[in-house]
Amino acid sequence: MSEVTISAADIPVAGPGTLREFWLTYTQSRGAVIGLALIVVLIVLAIGANVIAPYSPNEQFRDFTLAPPAWHDGGSVRFLLGTDPVGRDILSRLIHGARLSLLIGLISVAISLSLGVVLGLVAGYFRGLVETTIMRLMDVMLALPSLLLAIAVVAILGPGLINAMYAIAIVLLPHYVRLTRAAVIAEAAKEYVASSRIAGAGPLRLMFSTILPNCAAPLIVQATLGFSNAILDAAALGFLGLGAQPPTPEWGSMLADALEFIQRASWVVTFPGLAILVTVLAFNLMGDGLRDALDPKLKR
């Protein structure tokens, strides 16, 4: 029996790995890179808010109420983006607000995604009455305009930041359920699932470790877009007075607080809105980029 020696040269040189290939496709889109860069900046701001923000978000400078931004007449570098009606530094509030917005996105998407994946897997795997019940329930939720559903949930739970997150998680839920179910139905018919079943894998193993990883791509894209929806809806709820309550530096409620000063001091309204827009835009850009990079149908 001859001894087989394997030299380094015999091992096929690893081609571009999936991750590397993904990264190459992703970075081909300029928008996607910009989106990712913005999100990294936001995350850094959110984590380091206590160090980066010049002041505490709730510190009131009584002598400097409604101070204009630095580049306006009468503005000073002390308050780069000006102050609000009670003399709080807008820049500091915005930086702390980034923390809240990312947290809202993270928590509501996490709740919604995990619940949605489980319901979708169950519906797509077991079919029959279970599926009908789950999907009809999702249809009912989809029949309500998202903000109306969120308002309804907040009406039950009471206004507040945490309840707004639950409300948004509920609003996002049907999308994940439908997506997972559709992907599971498509995957379950494939041979690798059948062979895994014949090999003796139980339903739980089939659902979570055989099928689920192969449905991940659309879910990742939807989760990214879910972030932008969550941030936008949370801001809308805050704006309507149903989300975060003052003095929380949440961007939407900052806008609502400043409403009556819009004519005298436009900056109290401009910057929080801009922060929402840029953040939502960043997640949408990243979502689009991820879709292009993960969807094999669109790959060249």
Binding site: D139, V140, I262
Partner: protein
């Protein structure tokens, strides 16, 4: 075709039952009961409280209340508002034309601007025009519209003084409400000043509410157009020497429109979500504004009825779009 319609229509029955259950359950999960809220800060003596609870039927078992509720809904009775003592259905119907008017013009704006923008972007793929359209529509898609509304008010109403800030018409005009649609009513009254005032009140809310649908339509039109332009029959049409506009408008657009129409239909829910914010900011007397007030004042029947009616509208429109899609595309019908 007939079986397709029946099959599709039958699907909405469980959805509708679900919506009534949700509307019913919602109200009973809200903390505090309407009688408590009526009494305000001072409280109410237990005898009067019990009498009122009985009067409203709130002291009976829940399944009975639900069965009763569905019966009433089917008879068109959605209860009376606790704050205005008006029937909910009548209030809704009085306010609904204002929302429809706003939503109609928002959609019109979105289609009139979004379709051509999407077509141009597709035809001029990877040029400045394409990037501009895509950039603007991505921004529009990401826009917090309540902030967008404030910016527009700040610029057009405060700085330039061109447009009014709130309401549907200036107070000096007294237009008899015959249809509920302010523009039509003003025209019928033959009052040019009132008509102008109504139009100027409509401009900013239309722009605000139309922004997100506009972005969605432009994006959808572009991608659907790009797909169709790659098809063989388009190349054939070009090879035959047909003028470019004819190929684009007749051969490509007609087929590219199918998914766009679906998307337009599906915007109705989005439009009603947007209407809640837009109406609140512009004090537009529509159902969105009414519902927000209903939630804030815990007006049970208003919230319950409003949710039910809006959901019914969204379900019906989605059904209609589905059927329309089946008519346009036989492959769906026979699936």
């Amino acid at each position: 075709m007939f079986t397709f319609i029946l099959r599709r229509a039958a699907l909405i029955v469980p959805t509708f039952i679900g919506v009534t259950l949700l509307a019913f359950a919602l109200i009973h999960l809200i903390p505090g009961d309407p009688v408590e809220n009526l009494s305000g800060e001072r409280g109410m003596d237990p005898a009067r409280r019990a009498r009122l609870l009985h009067e409203f039927g709130l002291d009976r078992p829940l399944p009975v209340q639900y069965a009763d509720y569905v019966g009433q809904v089917l008879r068109g009775d959605l209860g009376t508002s606790l704050t205005t003592h008006e029937p909910v259905l009548r209030e809704f119907l009085t306010l609904f034309p204002a929302t429809v008017e706003l939503a109609f013009f928002a959609m019109l704006f979105a289609v009139v601007v979004g379709l051509p923008a999407g077509i141009i972007a597709a035809l001029k793929r990877n040029t400045v025009a394409d990037y501009a359209v895509m950039g603007v529509s991505l921004t529009g898609y990401s826009m917090p519209i309540f902030w967008w509304a404030l910016l527009l008010i700040l610029f057009f109403s405060v700085q330039l003084g061109w447009t009014p800030v709130s309401g549907r018409i200036a107070v000096e005009f007294d237009v008899p409400a015959s249809t509920g649609f302010m523009l039509i009513d003003a025209l019928r009254a033959g009052d040019a000043g009132a008509f102008r005032s109504a139009v100027s009140h409509l401009l900013l809310p239309t722009l605000v509410l139309g922004t997100i649908p506009l972005a969605v339509i432009a994006r959808m039109t572009r991608s659907s157009m790009l797909e169709v332009l790659r098809e063989d029959y388009v190349r054939t049409a070009r090879a035959k020497g047909l003028p470019r506009w004819q190929v684009v408008l007749v051969h490509a657009l007609r087929n590219a429109l199918i998914p766009v129409i679906t998307v337009i239909g599906l915007q109705v829910g989005l439009l009603l979500s947007g209407a809640i914010l837009t109406e609140t900011i512009f004090s537009w007397p529509g159902v969105g504004n009414w519902l927000v007030h209903g939630v804030q004042s815990r007006d049970y029947p208003v919230v319950q009825g409003g949710i039910l009616l809006i959901a019914t509208i969204v379900i019906s429109v989605n059904l209609f779009v589905d059927l329309l899609y089946g008519v346009i595309n036989p492959r769906i019908r026979h699936a």
